[in-house]
Symmetry: D2
Subunit: 365 residues, 4 copies
């Protein structure tokens, strides 16, 4: 295990330009508390597509891949190593590791919100560039070299590696659910969008006490999947125009509107539409606008009159990932990870993700 093959992104280019190059890299000796991991699976994420379009900054040359499962090949030094829950990490364990909040900045300490850490770092583009030690700093590779002090999670033996790549989207929704104050038991929930975040929102709402879940999105195959995972109703945005979508939600809710709406669509117009779907005193979560997609005309009178509560959610803290394991253990995930690519096909994987042919693609090196 002296060398590792790794997909390097020398500079930002679109997927069509096939920007990744497979290189072979010397594996540096392990420092105390560092971990060498044999990559088992790395998720391909919408964020990776954004990176290749220059919309999310990374440090190039980069190794992408931030939804990672690895098997512990070696641990540096003799000191026992623990994961974020206090469990000892052992050679042979299946692990993931989470974005590292500094726990010292204003947002981490005074606001108590590590998801908004001012100095957060993560493998897959943000920790150090790929031409600096320890080089193996992202999941699109055969091996990763995990820095001492990383936020490791030893995966329970009953958890599939697929759970981790889906857990990246799920933890955002667990965090979002916390930010809206949880569901009131029996709430009717509308989900706008049926990508990975929307579907995780659906499955989470189902398991967190929703009485009914309505999913609005496209294409039809994705909506069929939503129904399979528990959506009571689906509305196809390619078939039903906005005013009728609003009308349908009102009809499904005795004319009152939904208790809760999760925006997981990433389209500004969805917010205007969704605010018409929420009931008096209802709650609206903006979870799909990680990127800046511009403005939408909104009417403050509507918010004032219906007393709607709107909130946003940004990434997640470690606790939200851990809480999400509850769901990932019990829901069958095979149908959600729709595409598997070898490391050599990383360019193809990103092209497929960009074309939204995949619900969730993974690299299995």
């Amino acid at each position: 295990m002296n060398k590792a093959r790794v997909a390097v992104l020398p500079e930002i280019k679109t997927p069509a330009e096939r920007p990744f190059q497979i290189r072979e890299v010397e594996i540096p000796p392990l420092a105390d508390g560092a971990v060498l991991g044999r990559m088992v699976m790395a998720g391909v994420c919408g964020t990776d597509v954004h990176i290749l379009h220059g919309k999310v900054p990374v440090r190039t040359p980069a190794v992408l891949g931030h939804e990672n499962v690895a098997r512990v090949e070696a641990i540096g030094g003799d000191t026992p190593l623990y994961d974020v829950t206090g469990k000892q990490v052992q050679v042979g364990d299946l692990i993931t590791w989470l974005p590292k909040s500094c726990m010292q900045c204003y947002n981490c300490t005074i606001l108590g919100d590590p998801a908004k850490c001012e100095r957060r770092i993560g493998y897959g583009g943000w920790v150090v560039p790929a031409d600096q030690h320890p080089y193996l700093v992202g999941g699109f590779a055969e091996y990763v070299w995990i820095l001492p002090g990383s936020d490791l999670v030893v995966l329970p033996p009953d958890l599939a590696p697929e759970a981790v790549v889906l857990g990246d989207a799920l933890r955002i929704m667990v965090h979002g659910l916390e930010r809206i104050g949880g569901l009131e038991y029996g709430d009717t929930v509308v989900i706008q969008g049926c990508g990975a975040v929307g579907l995780m929102g659906l499955i989470l709402a189902r398991d967190a006490g929703a009485g009914r879940v309505i999913v609005i999105g496209a294409p039809a195959t994705r909506l069929a999947l939503a129904r399979e995972y528990g959506a009571d109703e689906t509305i196809d945005i390619t078939q039903v125009p906005t005013p009728e979508r609003i009308q349908q939600v009102l009809e499904l809710t005795d004319g009152r509107g939904a208790d809760v709406v999760f925006e997981c669509a990433g389209v500004p117009a969805a917010v205007a539409e969704g605010l018409e779907m929420v009931r008096i005193d209802g709650r609206y979560l903006i979870a799909g606008h990680y990127g800046d997609a511009g403005t939408v005309p909104l009417n403050p009178h509507l918010i004032n009159r219906k007393q709607i509560t709107i909130t946003g959610v940004w990434s997640a803290a470690n606790k939200h990932f851990l809480r999400g394991l509850t769901l990932l253990r019990k829901v069958p995930l095979e149908k959600l990870v729709t595409h598997r690519f070898p490391l050599d096909a990383v360019n193809e994987a990103l092209i497929a993700a960009e074309r939204q042919e995949t619900l969730k693609a993974v690299i299995v090196p």
Copy 2:
């Protein structure tokens, strides 16, 4: 339908004294907005046992039976009649009706808490005595005469009558869940007690996002039922003494204690025990002390040091019953309603309930 047979309780006596007498009563003509209901099922509740022991006051002579399902036989007058959700009530509908909060007292209006209404009235002992119009004022009877202005609920067609009698216990736990701020997704929940309230707490917790549920109680058959309804672990109080019970909960929770504990046992000592089982910053719900069972020594330092939040829950508002329908529609309830008695056997039903031979007994007239 001029006469109705009804089980009258002339005065307070224990179940062993067989206090109920079956009488035949003239059915008064219907006033505007009144409803005549043919009783379909009436639950026998622990509260009824308390009434017969003089621990919960009622107005005698009484007709007990406060967990009622009836079929609408006739509606007084021509004005359309609506249930609490705004749905029109029709002859032939299966209905229940909830304790009526006055919506005018301090607790109803200023505190906004109809469950604590200062002038709440309910069929089954509290509305008017059985020797006053309209006589048919409880569920242990062939017919009920439901006063105008009652809080009716038209049952959805897919809902079994059994759901309503269990809904009486469930709504308390829905209310309790609201009072502790809902579950945080993935919470480990301990349930102390496995009577109807405890089992409803278990099933609710399971459906409201609990990651793991531990039920503590007896007898073994009841615990087996708990496992069938989703308990991950059960602890038999007849087999495991208190210190070991605490120890087991700690071991099941990495030594930290449960996120949430529901007390549904009704025994003061359970509170002292349960506070040892809850984690730092955890939450403790007292739901089992509807009756005064005396004091227990508690240590304020424990609450201070672990920053435990304790709260109590008293009955429920209409909204909690309605929210509970979510659960009652999806969970099979047959095994929970363990005993069925004809109206003539009401004394036997109460004896069985007092002996805790039943999980839930019903009168089917």
Copy 3:
């Protein structure tokens, strides 16, 4: 006291058209539980101006005046009469009466939100037209005839009548404060707007634990008043353009933004501006958009990224008015009630209110 002079609004016309006519009306005999009140003071409200412009519907012919203080002249019948807190109402008491929620509709009962009652009625335009019994149905009159079952409040003896007219704006802010979850002790609060609602928001924030309050508005005299009532900083919108206003708030908050922003301006653009002023995880209350003033382009990414919580507040429940008495008892209010008009000058009062020459005008008949 057989006749009463009353300012009748025969039809909707603008203030400039001097729409009110003073008429003399027979006082109907009192029904059981009704109250005849001698008007002491009636506030002239921005809502009255909206009514005259046809933006808020009323039932004409109307008697306006919904911020009322009267002295009890007579009580119908012999039954003791109680106010909403349970205090007995006596002849000679100074009283007000609040908009009456039905306490039976879906919003009152299931949502538990009487401020959103579907059938709310209020004196001053909404209870019955002025050509129907009991005729004296608004505050711009010598006497009012208050219907049985009204939500009366006996004013504490140490409370000035002025408190009630200001209490109409204050209760909205007490309600709004509740809806944002209260202030965290020491919060920096920005108030957008310095009309009656904004100033009440300022004084409330000061008394509810704000560490610092920044008021943004105009004209300069109003801002001077804001400083007198406790504003730490004021920003004059006629002198400082939007980008610099945002910049000033950021500079006053170490670049982080305010913990809480209250929108009391009624201008859609204020919402876009205010969202730039609020910190990460901060809270934004929309209190100024009672009327529909159109849309404003907002960026969902901003809400998502800063995890801002936005909520709206609509009117108030009785409890919020009662809670506001705390403040009205201790703050000197003379400077806030800037203009006093006799009943004959009601047209002049409305013209002055429309021109925003007054902070708060009252009719003293």
Copy 4:
């Protein structure tokens, strides 16, 4: 400044045994990021008395004094040093430093509760023993040597040193206020106990929107002080027995009980008494049981029936101290710091504190 006089506690002994010895210690050279502080004032705390009675463990030999204000004499190294809010620390600044939470343990990260840090360290007994580098590890000394990475706070220029010693009690109440969900505007608050924590609770409640505050305690002089700081009513426990105290609170609250009760008495019986004083749906904060004072019989039925919410509060996070500065800036504190002792009189100071002759004593070296 080569040597510093310091009050060393060689071993645990009661105040009467005069356990402190004044020694002279070499000041070690400053490491990078370390701070040498000239002590300005150190509070003598009830916790110090507990330490001398062996009820709160410390590492001996110890330097006590955990409520500290110092002037920065020197800063080690050239790197700019920042306080917890991001403000640069300069020679000459008046500073304090807070207990240091590790921000890595389960409670700090997963629970998000640094006040319950599993590895918290603090000057004044808990960081390192006094015979280990850097020796000057508590406030009862001429100088302190503050370790790199400490949680410093640069005091605003308008803040008196007294504010910091009172801030130690205040931050607990700011934290407690957060844990009960803040005050609802206008709440009636009962404070049980009028030591430093109780008085801080009083002043905080007053400034955080309480409508009325009732203080229960002794002696009469302390209650007079409470009235001076805003208590509306006081009840002297040496004059009024428990049942009458409960009766008085009920009478002051229309028979309903207080909205909120703060227990700051440290006596278990106070909890039983206080639960009788709180209204339906009211809240009870246990803040006075930092030490284990044993059990008290409590009735779970009372909690269940009144739906009381009880919670505890343990110490505080940095944010609570910072939030408390709001109050400490505006309230005159001279009367609260009742006794000042030179360093040589540290034994006398502890004797006075033990006898509760002082409200707050300080060491001014």
